[in-house]
């Protein structure tokens, strides 16, 4: 396996090099879950405000 490390601090700053997709998978998953949480939050707030202020008019 390939190890990726910082020359000035190899003990603390080293990781297994899993390639581009493998290395960036964790930050990407974190951002995706955060985006999902934000989406749910927005939907909740929109739903809450919709119910507070207006009731959808029935279709004719």
């Amino acid at each position: 396996m390939i190890v990726l490390y910082l020359a000035d601090n190899p003990q603390q700053e080293a990781m297994i090099d899993r390639g581009f997709w493998g290395n960036w998978a964790i930050p990407a998953i974190l951002f995706l879950v955060a985006a999902f949480a934000i989406l749910l939050l927005v939907l909740m707030l929109r739903g809450g405000s919709l119910q507070k202020t207006e009731i959808p008019a029935p279709y004719v």
């Binding site: 390939i2 190890v3 490390y5 910082l6 700053e13 297994i16 934000i38 707030l45 119910q51 009731i55």
Partner: protein, 295 residues
Amino acid sequence: MLNLIADGMQAYNQVGLLIGALICLAIGCFFFGYSLYQRAHAFRAMGTIIGVICNDGMFRPVYRYASPDGQAHVAKSQINSSWVRGKETGRVVPLIISAGNPAEAQEANSYLLDIVGLVFFACGIWLGYIALTSYPITLMTWIMALALIIFLAERGYRTFIPKAQRPSFAEWRQKLKTRQTTPIDLADVKPIEQILAGPDWRQTQLRKLKIAAPVFALFAVILVCVGIYQSMKLARLESTGLRADGEVVRLQRESSDDGGSVYYVVVRFRTEKNVSIEFKDKVGGNPPSHRRETK
């Protein structure tokens, strides 16, 4: 002896994963197959939402539609949810009506069942892949599979209703038919607008929102902060870091939050100054993602 216990635990994990995979695949096939069957065999018509049946905060739309012979029918949706949008009274929707039961329908443009089925199917494939690629299939696997099947069969037998109390197939079908042909009580059907305008509903929703919104916001902020920190660290490593050959020297077992075990690989490598460094990888797993190896 220790090897036997370790092999047994490994086989137990493997068989457990395989059983989980089979259950997920079965659920996925059921949902997806049912949806496909409905789409192939049910008849289609345009319907109008006349209201919803509200039960514990869940809304089940009720439709009025005309069958091909011109007769008017009322059908309730097979799916209920707390989702408000799309359930407006008077809204015209394309329907798929169950061939065996004209009182049940689902919206033709709803793919919820298909998605749920596909998610379960994908989980089943993933679990099966892990079970078959992360562990070797040994004699212990077969012994453990047999033992688990006997255990599950015994448990299943215990939960069965005794034969004397068990309804016959004809009784069961009759019961199902009665349930299916029970007409919808229109007194339970109310316009969603009326329910949403009620003070109880509004207060409940606002109370839920006051609790849930800050939790979601905090969760999202924490995730974004951790994501940014990880990204910066990784970007620095990728831009200024060096690469070297490494080898797995051992697996470090740690207890996980759910009481199980997580394995982390400990890797050894030599820096450009020929200094030997060992570090524990930050990504753990069970089964372990690597085995001990030689360079």
